[in-house]
């Protein structure tokens, strides 16, 4: 059926077909079908909704923090009563609580929001479809991965309710502070163990699926770029997470079993000598942490680049420019990302030679990103560009990610990094990468694949309001951070730098940033309404509404829930982006359409 679909009128929806297909399989009960499902599409959706919830939650935490930064020491209006006396007496935020919010914002955004959405949701839903596979290679492992993630999330959330609240040693959890922190830190470590386990299970599954289950004829160089991005991402997760899992367990033992892996002897905490055996190293944790956390940055960004590549090819109606260079770049980038981690540690007392090494690798790793980004820019050249909502978000991603990348250069060079390290400049830099960068791309992906999931498209006007509102606010939130950081304002400051004589001239930006963040919160309501309303009210569309070439569009929309996405296993005949090939009757040639058909039709 998949192949024939293209000969019919493309604008006709096929809701009946998908129903008919579902009945070939034995019906599963509600629980097996929607909750403890082993189907990659349901798991993808579970990941998606959970991750969107956490993104919203993590963003809410930051909106509360931004009140304290803009109006330090003033009682928070309207919602003050929601919080306990220990965190906000009289509605005024205490430093203890600010620090919990900060640490949990970082943790939640990275480990419970963006990665699960980019890899868990998009990877699960789209990758098997794009490679023409009936499901993931290990469906039960896939389910286990989701539920490990879910448990990790529950542990993290419940840590807000243990005595003295959630973890507050930052998302980096540097010892010795993290070792002597309150019980929330133990919960954080437990939560991380679940989350890491979840990612490892997922990574093995993706690797096996992509390599083993791709359709006949789908050679590596015919992979859509999104599949490449997910493949490399899985390698990064698989190789980088185990050291952090080990480190988390070691820190847990330091806290619970009295070991001293990260604790040197003779610490005097508040006037008292600590009763520990000592001999450990606080820097060891930093190495293990950043050995994960730098590749993690690429885990946050590669799937986003993959999404943007798909959307740009589709909406320019032309092949991606420099596809091969992009593929080699992403492989090289994955490799290099393992040997740059210590650029986060230039000022810990590192020797000149070793820091020269890490400065060079850091400079070099910027090259593949430059190549990928410029290939995407050049792909616009000579196209026939359609301004759909996903395309707007994808176009927005390009310059925003550009700012994120370029502002990283001074951080990779020790002399400038010495001044900028741990200031708001760093916060601005990585937020440009992950918020106006990755988050915009993830929104683009939601608008783009929504019709595949629901058979309906999201509202275009609301989408455009969402885009402009979000991108404008984001720049007002994050651009002033560079200015503050250059003036020396540190991150993780409870009062936004009030006491800094040096920083007085740049403090006025705090209010601007906060107001922009709250407006951006309002703008997201438009998205949430659009997301849910369109499930029922959205315009019905065909299986391939964007007239795209990759395999997922040849499956019925809202593919049948039982295993096996395609009626017959697709056979691949061509590269991923054969758009506007001269001599063809249509301006796109799906990967699974044989040569005769393309020219004959």
């Amino acid at each position: 059926m998949a192949k024939n679909a293209h000969n019919k009128d493309l604008q006709v929806a096929h809701p009946e077909t998908s129903h008919a297909h579902g009945e070939h399989h034995p019906e599963l009960g509600f629980w097996r079908k929607y909750v403890f499902s082993t189907d990659h599409k349901i798991i993808g959706l579970q990941y998606g909704f959970t991750a969107l919830f956490f993104l919203l939650f993590g963003f809410t935490l930051v909106m509360i923090m931004r009140w304290q930064l803009a109006y330090p020491g003033e009682a928070i209006p309207l919602i003050g009563w929601l919080f306990s006396e220990e965190s906000m007496p009289g509605g005024v935020m205490l430093p203890e609580f600010y620090n919990q919010l900060g640490a949990m914002h970082g943790t939640i955004m990275v480990f419970l929001g963006v990665v699960p959405l980019a890899v868990g949701a998009f990877g699960n839903y789209v990758v098997p479809l794009q490679i023409g596979a009936p499901d993931m290679a290990f469906p039960k492992l896939n389910m286990a991965s989701y539920w490990a993630y879910f448990l990790g999330g529950v542990v993290m959330l419940s840590s807000f309710f243990v005595p003295a609240g959630a973890a507050k040693a930052g998302w980096t959890s540097y010892p010795p502070l993290a070792n002597i922190e309150t019980m929330g830190q133990t919960m954080w470590l437990l939560g991380m163990v679940f989350l890491i386990t979840s990612s490892l299970l997922g990574a093995i599954n993706f690797l096996t699926t992509i390599i083993q289950l791709r359709a006949e004829g789908l050679t590596f160089m015919r992979f859509p770029f999104f599949v490449w991005a997910q493949l490399i991402t899985s390698f990064l997760l698989l190789l980088a997470f185990p050291p952090l899992e080990a480190a988390a367990i070691l820190q847990l033992m330091d806290r619970l079993a009295g070991t001293s892996f990260f604790m040197p002897g003779g610490l005097v905490v508040s006037g008292q000598v600590m009763d520990i055996s000592g001999g450990g190293s606080p820097l060891l944790w930093q190495h293990l942490f950043w050995f994960l956390a730098h590749p993690e940055v690429y885990v946050l960004i590669l799937p986003a680049m993959g999404i943007v590549a798909e959307i740009i090819a589709n909406n320019t109606r032309k092949p991606l420019w420099g596809y091969k260079a992009m593929v080699y770049s992403v492989i090289f980038l994955g490799f290099m990302s393992f040997i740059v981690w210590a650029h986060h540690m230039f000022i810990t007392g590192m020797g000149t030679a070793i820091s020269a090494f890490f400065q060079i690798t850091t400079m070099i790793i910027s090259i593949p990103s430059v190549i990928i980004l410029s290939a995407l820019f050049l792909s616009l050249w000579g196209g026939s560009i359609r301004f759909t909502t996903p395309m707007l978000f994808a176009l927005g991603f390009l310059p925003m990610f550009g700012i994120g990348g370029l502002t990283g250069l001074p951080l990779g060079l020790a002399p400038t990094d010495i001044h900028l390290h741990d200031t708001y400049y760093v916060i601005g830099h990585f937020h440009y990468v992950v918020a106006p960068g990755t988050i915009l791309a993830l929104f683009a992906g939601i608008y783009y694949w929504y019709p595949k999931i629901t058979g309906r498209s999201m509202n275009d006007l609301l989408g455009k309001i969402h885009f402009w509102g979000t991108i404008i606010c984001m720049n007002f939130i994050f651009m002033p951070m560079f200015i503050q950081g250059l003036a020396g304002v540190s991150r993780r400051l409870y009062d936004g730098g009030q006491l800094y004589q040096f920083a007085q001239p740049v403090l006025k930006w705090n209010e601007v940033m906060s107001i922009a963040a709250w407006i951006m919160g309002l703008v997201q309501i438009v998205f949430i309404v659009n997301l849910f309303m369109s499930i029922r009210k959205g315009k019905k569309v065909s299986d391939n509404p964007w007239e795209a070439t990759t395999l997922e569009w040849s499956a019925t929309s809202s593919p049948p829930l039982a295993h096996g996405n395609f009626e017959t296993m697709p056979q691949v005949y061509r590269g991923p982006y054969e758009y506007s090939v001269p001599g063809n009757s249509r301006d796109f040639a799906p990967q699974n359409e044989p040569e005769e058909k393309v020219s004959a039709a």
């Binding site: 008292q272 050249w381 560009i385 390009l398 001074p410 741990d422």
Partner: protein
């Protein structure tokens, strides 16, 4: 970057500017190209789609040029970095000890203080150490920063180019009151520094805990303000009436305090005896409202204890 007052400033700022200018040129170029493309190749204007999917020369150029640029940045930056790492042999050495949540500076003669005083135009090297968790010694005006890692001795050096007073921050998050871990560096002319330094000798051994005071008769309590800073009391106790982690010192003496002793609440007059006990055995009487926060027992000499108590008595 904003004003600056050390010999590193021009180097660091120039390296930053160099990168910034290249980045801005790149960025503006790319954004203009993008705007041009999306306008020029709007689907209403362009139906004839180019099939160009790459161009080896262009791709190579696009790889080689940025590589050269970033390596140039590295080279430029590295020269500056080497200077920052090469400590002049004649540099004056001062220890900066970070602890929750204050800095303590110890001079070569043993004198301790919470404000750093240095001479202008002379290299100064700071030995940055930590007593408890990570901290980071940061003087934005000098463009220097160095982590204080417990168990390690890290060095950072600078040479101030103007006299004046500049902020010192702790740049590495170190717990609840990290935002208040502030201190100052006073840059003074060299002669003034020399005479100031000579004057510190008599306080030096007393402040570092030795019994041999300089011999000069001093009013009891006059060293109190310094001691509560050096010993880190002010991290938890304010002297202006505001409650921090612990109750304020202001106005305790001579008033009734509600305390919890062995789980029972009682009122007690804060006399000398009480202050003494509160400092030496804090667990005996826990001040109500703060009973869940442990005040660590303090290692003070008799003399220091007397000074601090005399000082607290004055704070009415």
């Amino acid at each position: 970057m904003f004003s600056g007052s050390s010999t590193f400033v021009s180097e660091v700022d120039q390296a930053f500017l160099f990168i910034l200018i290249i980045s801005v040129i790149f960025f503006v170029g790319i954004v203009f190209a993008m705007i041009y493309f999306v306008v020029r190749y709007h689907h209403k204007k362009n139906q004839t789609v180019s099939q160009s999917s790459g161009n080896l020369t262009l791709e190579l150029l696009w790889t080689v040029i940025p590589t050269i640029l970033v390596l140039a940045m590295f080279y430029y930056g590295f020269i500056g970095y080497r200077n920052m790492k090469t400590i002049p042999p004649d540099a004056l050495e001062i220890q900066a000890l970070g602890r929750m949540w204050s800095w303590l500076y110890t001079y070569e003669n043993g004198y301790q203080t919470d404000t750093l005083t240095v001479p202008v135009g002379k290299p100064v090297k700071i030995r940055v150490e930590s007593a408890d968790v990570l901290h980071s010694f940061y003087i934005p005006a000098f463009r220097i920063k160095q982590d204080a890692v417990p168990g390690m001795k890290n060095y950072v050096w600078f040479e101030a180019t103007e006299t004046g007073t500049f902020d010192i921050f702790c740049a590495e998050y170190c717990g609840d009151r990290h935002s208040y871990m502030l201190s100052l560096v006073k840059v003074v002319p060299q002669e003034e520094y020399a005479s100031w330094y000579d004057g510190t000798a008599q306080f030096a051994s007393a402040a570092s805990g030795g019994a041999a005071g300089g011999g000069a008769e001093r009013k009891p309590g006059s060293r109190g303000p310094m001691l509560v800073k050096i010993k880190g009391c002010v991290a938890c106790h304010s002297i202006d009436g505001s409650p921090l982690v612990g109750p304020t010192f202001k106005g305790v003496f001579g008033h009734q305090v509600a305390v919890i002793t062995d789980g029972k609440e009682r009122e007690i007059l804060a006399d000398e005896e009480y202050l003494r006990r509160s400092i030496l055995e804090p667990q005996t009487d826990r001040v109500k409202g703060f009973e869940n926060i442990p005040m660590p027992p303090q290692n003070l000499t008799e003399e220091e204890l007397a000074e601090i108590i005399a000082y607290i008595k004055e704070l009415q």
